[in-house]
Amino acid sequence: MTVIGWFQIILYCAIIVALTKPLGWYMTRVFNGERTVLSPVLRPIEAALYWISGVDERREQHWLTYTIAMLLFHVGGFVIIYGLMRLQALLPFNPAGMSAVAEDLSFNTAISFITNTNWQNYGGESTLSYLTQMVGLTHQNFLSAATGIVLAVALIRGFARASMRTIGNFWVDVTRCTLYILLPICVVYALFLVWQGMPQTLGDYVEATTLEGARQTIAVGPVASQVAIKMLGTNGGGSFNANAAHPFENPTALSNFVQMLSIFVLGAALTNVFGRMVGNQRQGWAVLAVMGVLFIAGVTVAYWAEANGTSTLTSLGLTGGNMEGKEVRFGIVASSLFAVITTAASCGAVNAMHDSFTALGGMIPLINIQLGEIIVGGVGAGMFGMLLFVILAIFVAGLMVGRTPEYVGKKIEAREVKMAMLAILVLPLMILGWTAVAVVLPPAVASMANAGPHGFSEVLYAYSSQAGNNGSAFAGLTGNIPFYNVTGGLAMFVGRFLMIIPAMAIAGSLAEKKSIPPSMGTFPTTGGLFVGLVVGVILIIGGLTFFPALALGPIVEHLAMNAGDLF
């Protein structure tokens, strides 16, 4: 670990904190339906969209209607992507002549993109046409991100409102989120990325003759426009197989730093939106502090582990850390930091191969995902995941003092706690359940690239990543077989929607409750005690649930590595 390395980490955190408040202010205005600086340009487009689709923007929806609208929107998205992948050979914008994608891979990829997972069982440059990349993947990157954000906003409205039956209008929220937040940032961002060296072309793959006279086919494409939204929307699905490690998808140290910022920026700002909507910004900062504590802890462990290297390398006298599966322009610190960020948020883009991380360095991304990606988290999904844990923590605090727990003026009662538990239990069911099935089935075991405990980690990571809608991978695992495509698709689907629906039920029930003013007996939720309590609840629940599985994978591998065992 170096001073300059730590300086990069501190600078990163400082910029995120500095952006949280102004962006939170802007996003709050967007979701309150107020005028913004962009309204003169975008308002006519917005009004036209409502007009052609028959949306009455003043009519708000009950939580059930809001959820049904969201589900219908996803069914449509699924049909579009699946159709495009199956038919891409017959459609335009296909200069590399890609053929139709197989049924099971199309199923997995379509689910993967509508759930904001962006698990890559496909290899972008070797499987997909430009049309599929643009219309299928880029558009769903926008819409699944917008969906995540508006669901978080709906839950926040549940806390902020009192004695109301509605939590907003899904169509209005999605449209405003896409037009006023995601698109404007992406336009500027994509141009910045092209300036840094990212291709943005519909031309053929380039044929080059290298200095030594060999032929090299260089895949290009409309990369920058997709990368901008894949990072900002914490989608993570790449144009290329190697994702953000590919020099075209992340050309410089600066592009890397900005990509890392763009993963966290909207998620962090949502904590401020929460504070503003419930009428006390310190409530938002307290939530961000919980995320910050867990984040710094994760970065420290991962950076330390990667900088120390592996016993294979150190026994040969090689210093400079574990560079297997990392790029020179990023080095140890930017690769470790990126890995923690991308799994803390449910982004899943990678700028280094997590499969080649040290045992403990690779365990941090795994833990981040298994905790439910609540450290800033996927745009929106992280915020409502964190609020579920807050509800539990408040419930535990209430039990300790024997009072009905309250949070931001709302009584937390049996219904909310039951729904929160339901949402939290979905992850272990999908992750541990499917991992257990996979490791006893011979075809699933044959897909492992590494032997010994690392092979188990690959499977555990695959289901963690898919159920948690992350999308990063211990990529050695050959995931593109029918078993993994289908079970992974189910894990992604259940992991997304069985978390969303209980969260929306909580939103609806909270919005109907009366708001009660704080009294002497109210547990203060803006101080260090509250932050400590929530961190504790998260670690205890996560630890109790996943520690046995982690012990079989990364922990035993770390011990084996120190003992000099190879597999």
Partner: protein
């Protein structure tokens, strides 16, 4: 519920057109005008022929060139297209080795590479990036130490004074961005082009 079906179809299609067609095509148009070189892939031409991209590494085996990092990319077997074989720096199929820290295959590979490099230059410590594969398999860079490590071999193969080659390496070191972000590095293709130009 029925009243939600129309927006589910119409709004979805409209937003698909905006974000999936208008946005990427507009970006392609604008980028092609403002940053035409980058938008095409930062291609490098010599004598009118494309010899590669400034951002994509290529394979160098000859002693008179600086070598890049080992690459784990694969390509279709020319004899049997259903199979894949090792094809370093295949820029149409980026990938890493994905070998874990306790992998025997990784251990054997690194050990062999270290022995080869030690035989080539016994006086310097072997830089770690020269014996580890990159994440993309297309890493265009090596560390300054890795370039200086190869300097004696290249100077000998080209009959150039070591000092001249060392100066070329030093001039091709890209520092951290603002002295802060990323790591110092040397673009192998740029260095080799400069080397060819100096030897003419």
């Amino acid at each position: 519920m029925l009243r939600e079906i129309r927006p589910a179809i119409v709004l979805l299609l409209a937003l698909t057109v905006i974000t999936g067609l208008i946005y990427p095509l507009a970006m392609t148009g604008i980028a092609g005008v403002i940053f035409p070189k980058q938008a095409q892939g930062s291609l490098i031409e010599r004598d009118g022929k494309v010899i590669g991209s400034a951002l994509i590494g290529q394979e160098f085996k000859d002693d008179k060139y600086f070598h890049g990092r080992p690459s784990a990319t694969t390509g279709p077997d020319p004899a049997e297209s259903a199979k894949t074989v090792s094809a370093p720096y295949n820029a149409a199929n980026s990938m890493g080795s994905n070998l874990g820290p306790t992998s025997t295959a990784l251990n054997d590979r690194v050990k062999e590479d270290v022995q080869k490099l030690k035989a080539e230059n016994p006086s310097s410590p072997v830089p770690v990036d020269l014996v580890t594969t990159s994440a993309s398999g297309l890493d265009p860079d090596i560390s300054p130490e890795a370039a200086l490590f190869q300097m004696p071999r290249v100077a000998k193969a080209r009959n150039l004074p070591e000092q001249q080659v060392r100066d070329l390496v030093t001039r091709n070191i890209q520092a951290r961005f603002l002295g802060l972000l990323g790591e110092p590095r040397v673009n192998v293709l740029a260095l080799n082009l400069a080397l060819d130009a100096a030897s003419r």
